[in-house]
């Protein structure tokens, strides 16, 4: 069993409305799991349970895994309790169940993924060029008006019809279809209108533990406040605003910070870092918006005294990525850190292959769907692969999916038995070329496969054109003449684990490595650059991304950035960092 620190015990013994600010490496997941176990083992109420919520499935799976390890064998976490994401909690217990009250005529809402209906052909040209980014940006406001990124839509349409965005959202509404990021706000409306529902949830789940609370949107937090007001016995909000890096998914550290300032809540902290060495803590706290004016977290783990200063690699413009990694590898060897994916990570701000792809490669939606299918199949996500492949085949041969009233199964059944269709899809799916294939070769193979499938099963193309018209990619690119040699996986891959872990920062959130190198590629623009790290505001998501990366390693932290004239001394004093030029 672990021995808990005084700070951790204070949290484990607390109850009521509690905010826990946990610094990186503070054993947050462990105490959350322990807190849950303390409840589970003494639970004697039926049809009531505790809910342990997190922002991502990965994070909540980790809580379950740790809790199950601590629990006696045979103990399981199941009904009446709930461990999962905040989204799935809201969906399953409130929105999908009671959302019918908001719809006329009442029907059970469904949640659809916004990328699936974001069809290329639905929009007018002017929408495409001037306005449209993703249909997910369009949301209904509580006054019934459609907004895009918070601004009311002012397009007038063409006189007879409303603008396509409004038509489209109305069509979705009439079918009771919503996007996940609309759910929290609609659920707030529902709870305001039917306060009994909040009471019901508060009674069904009298205890809620919210982990990764820094990623909670304002609407989700408002919803949790409804539950608190409706008689929740205890609510624990656990998180670290410095690690909020999901703004693109509506996450907003402000709602957690507000809770940290709220005197109605008991404020607890975990300040001890059990992961990193004191030297790493000393070097990184200046990048934390909360700790920058205080002092470094106290390193308290096994590697607290590990005596290796963080390294700042400054590389020349023409230095290749692989030579930087090679240099990093040498440093790891010097520290006796074995170079393997579970020990060593190299992380970047954006996609790992961002330097090695071209823009607008896919010339038709069907092509992109098949490429996605290829990649999903390679990653082992078979149901996703099937779904992409089916959509592509359906669009090619049966009907355009831009019409949201289309049900694939129904349409297919009009032409051939669905079971037979399924066989065809699986046939195509299993013969698709590997995602590691170069895109030039990949497209050639795919065209042949589709052509063969059409012939074998006596299917005709919907538009009466040739396969080559519907399955195609860019033919030339001025920036990268050899782009056809890029494997298609590069367009989708976010993490590789070969010699070492190579990932975006988002992909290593919550993880621990012995050694980690943050690779800074840019020198200008709104991304991680030497000047941003040297003087950028700590109250930005960009800096939080850097901070999350820097707080992952136990023993060795390295940052590699292009050599520049930027004044680095303030944030990277030589007292705390070893400068190495490559």
């Amino acid at each position: 069993m672990f021995s808990f620190t005084a700070e951790q015990i204070r949290f484990l013994e607390s109850s009521g409305k509690v905010v826990l600010h946990a610094c990186p490496g503070s054993g947050k997941t462990t105490v959350v799991a322990q807190k849950m176990i303390n409840y589970l083992q003494n639970w004697n109420r039926s049809h009531q349970g505790i809910a342990v919520l997190s922002f991502t499935n990965v994070a909540s799976d980790e809580i379950s895994r740790q809790a199950l390890e601590m629990l006696p064998k045979g103990f399981s976490i199941e009904d009446p309790h709930f461990v999962g994401t905040l989204d799935s909690f809201i969906d399953n217990y409130i929105f999908l169940r009671f959302g019918y009250l908001l719809l006329k005529p009442p029907k059970r809402p469904t949640i659809i993924s916004s990328d699936i209906v974001n069809s290329y052909r639905y929009w007018r040209k002017e929408c495409y060029t001037r306005c449209l980014s993703s249909i997910g940006d369009f949301k209904w406001a509580s006054n019934g008006k459609l907004t895009k990124n918070g601004n009311e839509i002012t397009c007038s349409g063409n006189g007879r019809y409303e603008p396509p965005c409004i038509q489209f959202k109305k069509a979705l509404l009439s079918k009771g279809q919503f996007f996940q990021d609309e759910v929290a706000r609609l659920t707030c409306i529902l709870l305001e209108k039917y306060p009994e529902i909040a009471k019901c949830i508060a009674s069904r789940f009298p205890v809620i533990i919210l982990d990764e609370a820094q990623d909670t949107s304002q609407e989700q937090m408002k919803l949790l406040d409804f539950l608190c007001a409706a008689g929740l016995e205890s609510m624990y909000i656990v998180g670290d605003p410095d690690q909020s890096i999901y703004e693109w998914r509506n996450a907003n550290p402000e709602s957690f910070l507000k809770k940290m300032r709220d005197t109605g809540w008991q404020q607890l902290v975990l300040t001890k870092n059990f992961r990193s060495s004191q030297l790493i803590c000393n070097a990184t706290f200046v990048f934390s918006d909360i700790y920058k004016d205080k002092k470094a977290n106290e390193a308290s783990g096994l590697f607290a005294g590990y005596n290796k200063k963080p390294i700042l690699f400054l590389y020349e413009k023409d230095t290749t990525e692989s030579s930087i990694v090679e240099r990093f590898k040498e440093e790891c060897a010097a520290c006796d850190i074995s170079f393997s994916p579970d020990k060593v990570a190299v992380v970047t701000r954006g996609r790992i292959h961002s330097g090695n792809i071209v823009k607008n490669l896919w010339k038709t939606p069907e092509t992109e769907l098949l490429a996605k299918s290829s990649f999903a199949w390679m990653s082992g996500d078979r149901s996703k692969a099937y779904s992409f492949c089916e959509k592509a085949l359906f669009q090619l041969t049966i009907k355009d999916l831009k019409d949201i009233n289309v049900s694939i199964e129904q349409e297919v059944s009009k032409i051939l038995p669905y079971s037979q269709w399924k066989q065809i899809v699986i046939e195509v799916l299993t013969s698709l070329p590997l995602a590691t294939e170069q895109c030039g070769q990949w497209i050639t193979n795919v065209k042949a496969i589709i052509q063969e499938t059409l012939t074998t099963h006596n299917l005709t193309l919907l538009k009466g054109t040739t396969v080559a018209d519907l399955i195609k990619i860019k033919t030339h690119d001025t920036q990268n003449r050899n782009f056809k040699q890029i494997p298609i996986k590069n367009y989708f891959e976010v993490k590789t684990c070969n010699e070492y872990t190579y990932s975006s920062v988002h992909g290593v959130k919550g993880e621990t490595y012995d050694a980690l190198m943050l690779l800074i590629k840019g020198t200008r623009g709104n991304t991680l650059t030497p000047s941003f790290l040297a003087s950028g505001s700590t109250d930005t998501e960009l800096m939080r991304i850097a901070y999350v990366a820097m707080t992952r390693p136990r023993k060795l932290l390295a940052i590699a950035m292009p050599k520049s004239t930027v004044q680095l001394d303030i944030r990277f004093p030589r007292k705390k960092w070893d400068y190495i030029e490559i």
Partner: protein, 668 residues
């Protein structure tokens, strides 16, 4: 929590239109003729409440889909359950708008497998929208017990792991300490038993033989005892038996004289019955009463209590009672996570004599009044139960024009006073009307005696047409008429005729008033005119208006029943004879007077006035007339012709035809 409403569609006898049942908190009865769907309802409830459970003792089968008159089998059946007093924690069924209500639904569909075989699939959901989950946890919040019609209560009470006694003990001894203490006692008892030479020896013999077979390989020995000292074994072997109240003491018993002396005292007499050759003694009661009884005598008495009856020696009725008390006993304990106890009983009256039926109903009523969470739904053919249970608690299943309907009597358009009146009035005999195809309501004893005879005269015997005659002893027809009319339905559960007097000429305010003290031998000038021009009483008009529907119709006599009978020339002599047999002195006088006139109306008037003034012997007159009519029916039956036969007045004929069947063409 309790079931408020059940809707069933396309399940067995219930067709595509669906049938709705309404239930109360507490006790409910569903009545209806055979094959009207009572058992189907009970099974539908059982199927619904077990649809998502792992452990089911009933399944929806392919043959459960309704087959319509055209022989077409439905491919989808639905059961909807609506509950009340639903706790919020049962979020899957809870209704956020009516916050004390909840509902769940299950649809069964008939599908074809790829191989072409039929297969039943189901979809179940909680709340209003299909798609929302319904889990076993939610349905397990209802504890359901079921006693079937073709039951074997004897078997249910036999020792077994799942016997009702086992369940009850499991509920009561729910703490580990209690279980352990029981096991400990048994362990001690087993050890003591083994001390006995014979058992010890038995054990030794077995183990020795075992050893020689096993050749020391397995090293296993057996232990002997009556029950293995484990809690599950105790519950599984629990049995009950009946101890008789009276025990016999032979005359040669040493305390015979002492006890028989006690029999002579007023105080102890009730506990001792002297019989030939000995005494029957209620030993427990006697010991309770006579506290100063010598210890030796007490022990000698207790030693007489040696025999008892095993369950299988009991009568069926008694075992049913035992079963029901074990079930309700178990339900009386609050259990964590159980919000409702539902006891479904088919025909609780089976094997019980009427007084016991009443007692069992009182027992149910007491239990449900005391324990909020117990709801009893029973089916019954027993007028005894129906008469006691209260109208609101009745669901009446009936068929009309080949369609099945349910009439929850709580829906009857009755005021509280009218309902009270009916409940007071519905005794066992009158409750038969719920089981009848037709009902004739009459005002009094004369009609009650004579109408059945009339029905035979016109070849419409009541029993042949399942018609019940209800004498309401007065004119309070309207609550009955209202109850018979099913709100919102043209088809009632039974057709009804009300036979009543139009009671004209009884209003003092009107010129046609006939004084109360007028007798047959007074001056009757102008009275027949009054009758002719009189108008039916307000009372008659209002009941007549109420009955202007297809279900209940009102048939009024001119003036009164007797007057109407006597208007038929043929009937005069029958009536005069009947009167004469009841009134040997005044009767003949009436006869002379009547025969003096040839005016038929005047004759009828005299007979009516005679009977009105001599109300006391009304029944006797009716009985005498009835006997004469019986003779006539028999003669007709034997094919004899009766000269000047008794004629049934037209309005009564109409009333009878109304509840039997359409008037035959020949009678027109």
């Amino acid at each position: 929590m309790y079931i408020q409403e059940v809707r069933i569609q396309n399940f067995r006898v219930f067709g595509n239109e669906g049938v709705t049942f309404l239930f109360n908190k507490g006790i409910n009865v569903v009545i209806g003729e055979n094959n009207s769907g009572k058992s189907a309802l009970i099974d539908a409830i059982r199927i619904a409440f077990s649809c998502v459970l792992y452990k089911k003792d009933i399944f929806f089968s392919k043959t459960d889909f309704h087959v319509n008159v055209a022989g077409e089998k439905a491919t989808s059946a639905q059961i909807d359950i609506y509950l009340k007093d639903v706790p919020k924690n049962l979020i899957e069924i809870w209704d956020p708008v009516q916050t004390d209500c909840g509902e769940f639904h299950v649809i069964f569909t008939l599908e074809k497998t790829p191989a072409g075989a039929d297969k039943v699939k189901y979809r179940a959901w909680g709340g209003k929208c299909e798609g929302n989950s319904l889990s076993a946890d939610t349905l397990e919040a209802v504890n359901l017990a079921y006693l079937s019609a073709l039951r074997d209560a004897t078997n249910e009470m036999r020792p077994s792991r799942n016997s009702k006694l086992a369940e009850l003990l499991e509920t009561i001894a729910n703490k580990p300490e209690e279980k352990e203490s029981l096991v400990e006692k048994l362990r001690t008892a087993n050890q003591e038993i083994l001390q006995s030479e014979s058992l010890g020896k038995t054990k030794q013999v077995i183990n020795e033989n075992l050893l020689s077979i096993e050749q020391n390989l397995l090293h296993q020995t057996v232990d002997l005892g009556f029950v293995e000292p484990k809690f599950e074994s105790i519950t599984a072997s629990l049995r009950s038996w009946i101890i008789p109240r009276w025990h016999f003491m032979e005359a040669c018993h040493q305390y015979y004289s002492l006890i028989s002396d006690l029999e002579h005292t007023e105080e102890y007499k009730p506990f001792i019955h002297i019989q030939d050759g000995g005494l029957y003694i209620d030993i427990d009661a006697l010991i309770e009463k006579k506290k100063d009884l010598d210890i030796a005598i007490k022990e000698a008495l207790l030693a007489l209590k040696t025999h008892s009856f095993e369950i299988f020696q009991n009568g069926l009725g008694y075992n049913n009672l035992l079963f029901m008390s074990a079930v309700l006993g178990d339900m009386s304990f609050a259990k964590s996570g159980i919000y409702a106890n539902l006891f479904l009983v088919e025909e609780p009256e089976a094997h019980l004599h009427p007084q016991l039926q009443e007692l069992i109903l009182n027992f149910f009523a007491k239990k449900v009044a005391h324990y909020e969470n117990i709801q009893v739904i029973m089916t019954s053919h027993s007028p005894t139960l129906v008469s006691k249970i209260g109208i609101k608690h009745i669901n009446l299943l009936y068929e009309n024009q080949h369609k099945l309907y349910n009439y929850p009597l709580v829906k009857a358009s009755l005021t509280d006073e009218e309902r009270d009146y009916l409940e007071k009035y519905l005794d066992v005999t009158k409750s038969q009307l719920f089981f009848a195809k037709g009902v004739i309501f009459v005002e009094g004893i004369s009609e009650a005696i004579l109408v059945p005879e009339f029905t035979k005269l016109i070849d419409r015997p009541l029993d042949m047409y399942a018609v019940e005659l209800v004498n309401i002893n007065g004119v309070g027809f309207s609550p009955f008429a209202k109850m018979m009319k099913v709100p919102g339905q043209d088809a009632g559960f039974a057709k009804a005729s009300i036979i009543t007097d139009d009671d004209r000429c009884a209003n003092k305010e009107e010129p046609t008033y006939i004084p109360k003290d007028l007798d047959f031998n007074d001056d009757l000038t102008g009275i027949t005119d009054k009758i002719e021009h009189g108008t039916p009483s307000d009372r008659y008009n209002s009941i007549s208006d109420l009955c202007s529907n297809n279900i209940v119709r009102c048939f009024g006599s001119v003036k009164t029943f007797e007057y109407a009978l006597a208007l038929e020339p043929n009937n005069i002599s029958y009536m005069l004879d009947a009167i004469a047999s009841a009134y040997p002195i005044a009767g003949p006088k009436l006869k002379i007077k009547v025969n003096e006139t040839s005016d038929q109306q005047l004759k009828a008037l005299m007979i009516w006035l005679f009977i009105r003034s001599r109300n006391s012997a009304k029944a006797q007159v009716a009985l005498a007339l009835g006997r004469a009519l019986q003779k006539q029916s028999r003669a007709i039956e034997n094919g004899e012709t009766v000269a000047s036969p008794f004629i049934v007045p037209q309005y009564i004929k109409d009333a009878i035809y109304n509840v039997t069947r359409e008037k035959p063409a020949l009678e027109e």
